[in-house]
Amino acid sequence: MQFSFMKKQGGSHPEEKKDRTRKIPIVDATIPKVLIFPVSMHIGAPAKPIVEVGDKVKVGQMIAEAGGFISANIYSSVSGEVIAVEKRPSTGGEIDSIIIKNDYEYIKDEPIVEPGKSAHMTDDEIIETVRKAGIVGMGGATFPTAVKLSPPPGMTIDSFIINGAECEPYSTSDNRVMVEYAEEIVSGINLIRKLFPKIKKVYIGIEDNKPNALKSMREATASYRDVIVQPLKTMYPQGSEKGLIKTMTGREVPPGGLPAEVRCVVMNTSTIRACYRACEFGEPLTDRIVSVSGTPIKEAKNLRVKIGTPIDSLIEDCGGFSEVPGKVLSGGPMMGKPISDLGISIIKGTTAITVLTPAEADEGEEKDCIMCSECLNVCPVSLQPILISDAFDRGNLQKAKELGAMDCIECGNCSFICPSKIPLLDNILAAKAAIKEQEAG
């Protein structure tokens, strides 16, 4: 253990609400009869379906291939039959989806690479396997991991940061992965760091409200001198990529830039585990850990979920609702997306399903700004949210831009903290969209 350079960063302290699931071991979710695979479950170009209605598929068979460099393959998580390729609702609106009827046989397809050979893979083979497995950032960002692992030439990586902060309230999936699969994470670290021979330090950042994960990761890394398990102050958004880089290394990613520009690569715990499993066992990404929690959930759980499973199947696994939910979210309450249709499926980036009561989801009545400066105090990138929001309200896009609207990381702290309940983030997002539009045309 070594004390790294800790720098003060703005943040807020929403109620953590992790107690219901933090200590509950991961269990398998019920695999439903019908699974839905949206072709766009990652940042970048949608994948192209390579199966047709009537095709028989196996577990781990590719059903859609990457539609570009920044894109990702999609694999079936069950064996069965393709019953439709059509538009279905998703967290990102209506999207082309492949619908597969489960035959409950679980016939496995060939592994994507020969198992047990990960230790002897070349750099190119590792990146190619990660690309082939369809792995994307599983912390929610869903950026294709193979792209992240191939930074532009000339950029040296000296710091490898594993993001186990999990700062969203309610969410405990990363926590359980670190507790239960520490060895696989460490194997993943060893695998990926080979790609960057100049790495001097590996940081595993974990908020200090996860003592079990800290203990587990410390034990798993005890024999590595250059792997630092760093407890982080529990604070939202401690797990933002930019914030974590600054906390760990003191460096700041330049505006619009990549972590590689400040010699860092940041990966989520589940993502690195998926990389290991792809290379070592030839497994494409077909399942993930999802925590399901929130007051209206009868029995909160950490579930191993087949990608493509509709959310209502998970809710059923958790005993259903004990009261009428106000909001069902894909993700946590700070950055999650609201879901209007429980038939929407779990995708690669779904970390959690959070259900709020109507009272918990109440956004309050908007009042006049009292200039309390709380939004400035909690902004992790030191913006002045109220001024950007105000500039946008007055139609002054130039001003909003000068005040740094485009630097907003959309964490939502400003809207959360505002005592006058001003929808600051809504306004900043609208300003960003308007600025982008203006610049494009």
Binding site: S12, P14, P169, K242, K246, E252, V253, P254, P255, G257, K327, L329, P333, M334, M335, G336, P338, S340, L356, E360, A361, D362, E363, G364, K367, D368, C369, I370, M371, C372, S373, L376, N377, P380, V381, S382, L383, Q384, I386, L387, D390, R394, K399, E402, L403, G404, D407, E410, G412, S415, F416, I417, C418, P419, S420, K421, P423, L425, D426, L429
Partner: protein, 326 residues
């Protein structure tokens, strides 16, 4: 189905104002203890006038009535507490009306006023109604034998560098025993309790009162050759403690940016010391805060926080919220 975030902090503007009212209870209790029940009457008149003025103004202007944000209550209570017990009640009424109508509402209402309404009202009363509100009495608690007494500031201001014999002992200054002055500001102990409450509740930023008081004390230290008694007497005299806790920390009239708050507080402390040294005038705090109120937007404009990943502070012409439109 709005966008994220989907939860909101439980703190509301009215809650914050309520916290300030709670923090004003210890000074209120101390003032009532030292000066009698008249204090409660003054505060009641202050709050009543402030709230009624705001209500009337908003009704007359066909605006939404916003008295339930409790901000007018805070202003009224501050005015009631920042006058001497001998002040006629009509001065409380005039002060509260001035604060709410002229200083607050005519500048756009809550969050838009440049000047702290209570401070501005206090300074206005001092300027135009001085004979009625500077009749200092020593506290005689519940009796009627009030003795006319000077505020200690008159002995240590105006070029003085040492503490004269007539000034009460530090401990008495701290507790507020046998001290003349405006009712709310006599007991520094009671104010300190209120200040710590607001800091603990994260309603005010601790650096504002601390830097304000500290700066005044340090400047006084340089002025007096670090005469400890002199420095401490200044810290504990007059309205410094009260204003540093409840007035310099006002959101709307203070600085918005973190660095701006620092400069604002130090500026208040420096100006307070300056006025006290140069003038024989127990009112330096009010002027100091008003001047810094006026400067706050310019300070903020030059000290906008550097955004993550950027090399310098944002380069934009500063127009504080609402400033252009009004």
């Amino acid at each position: 189905m709005g966008p994220s975030p989907h939860i909101r902090s439980k703190r509301t503007s009215a809650w914050l104002m309520g916290q300030v009212l709670i923090a004003l209870v210890p000074p209120l209790v101390a003032a009532t203890f030292f000066f009698g029940l008249q204090v409660l009457v003054m505060v009641a008149v202050g709050i009543g006038t402030a709230v009624l003025s705001e209500y009337a103004y908003q009704r007359i202007r066909y605006q939404q009535v916003k008295i339930n944000d409790l901000s007018a209550c805070v202003t009224g209570m501050l005015i009631g507490l920042s006058l001497p017990v001998t002040a006629p009640l009509w001065t409380v009424v005039i002060g509260s009306m001035f604060a709410i109508i002229i200083v607050k509402q005519l500048n756009g209402g809550i969050g838009k006023n440049y000047f702290n309404p209570a401070v501005a009202a206090r300074v206005m009363l001092k300027a135009f109604f001085s004979p009625w509100i500077t009749n200092w009495v020593l506290p005689s608690a519940w009796g009627v034998d009030a003795v006319a007494g000077a505020t200690p500031l008159e002995f240590i201001g105006d070029g003085a560098q040492t503490v004269s014999e007539q000034v009460p002992k530090l401990w008495d200054l701290f507790l507020g025993v046998n001290l003349g002055g405006n009712v709310g500001e006599t007991s520094k102990l009671a104010i300190l309790i209120g200040m710590l409450y607001l800091i603990f509740r994260r309603v005010i930023h601790p650096k504002i009162p601390i830097l304000y008081i500290l700066t005044t004390v340090v400047v006084m230290g340089f002025w007096s050759g670090f005469n400890f008694d002199f420095m401490m007497t200044h810290a504990l005299t007059g309205t410094l403690f009260f204003a540093a806790t409840f007035m310099a920390t006002d959101y709307s009239s203070g600085a918005l940016t973190p660095a701006g708050k620092t400069v604002f507080a130090i500026g208040c402390g420096f100006l307070t010391a300056f006025f006290r040294i140069v003038f024989d005038y127990p009112g330096g705090v009010g002027f100091a805060i008003l001047i810094m109120n006026l400067l706050a937007p310019f300070i903020d404009g030059r000290l906008m926080p550097r955004i993550y990943g950027h090399k310098s502070r944002p380069k934009t012409k500063y127009d504080r919220q609402g400033e252009l439109n009004r």
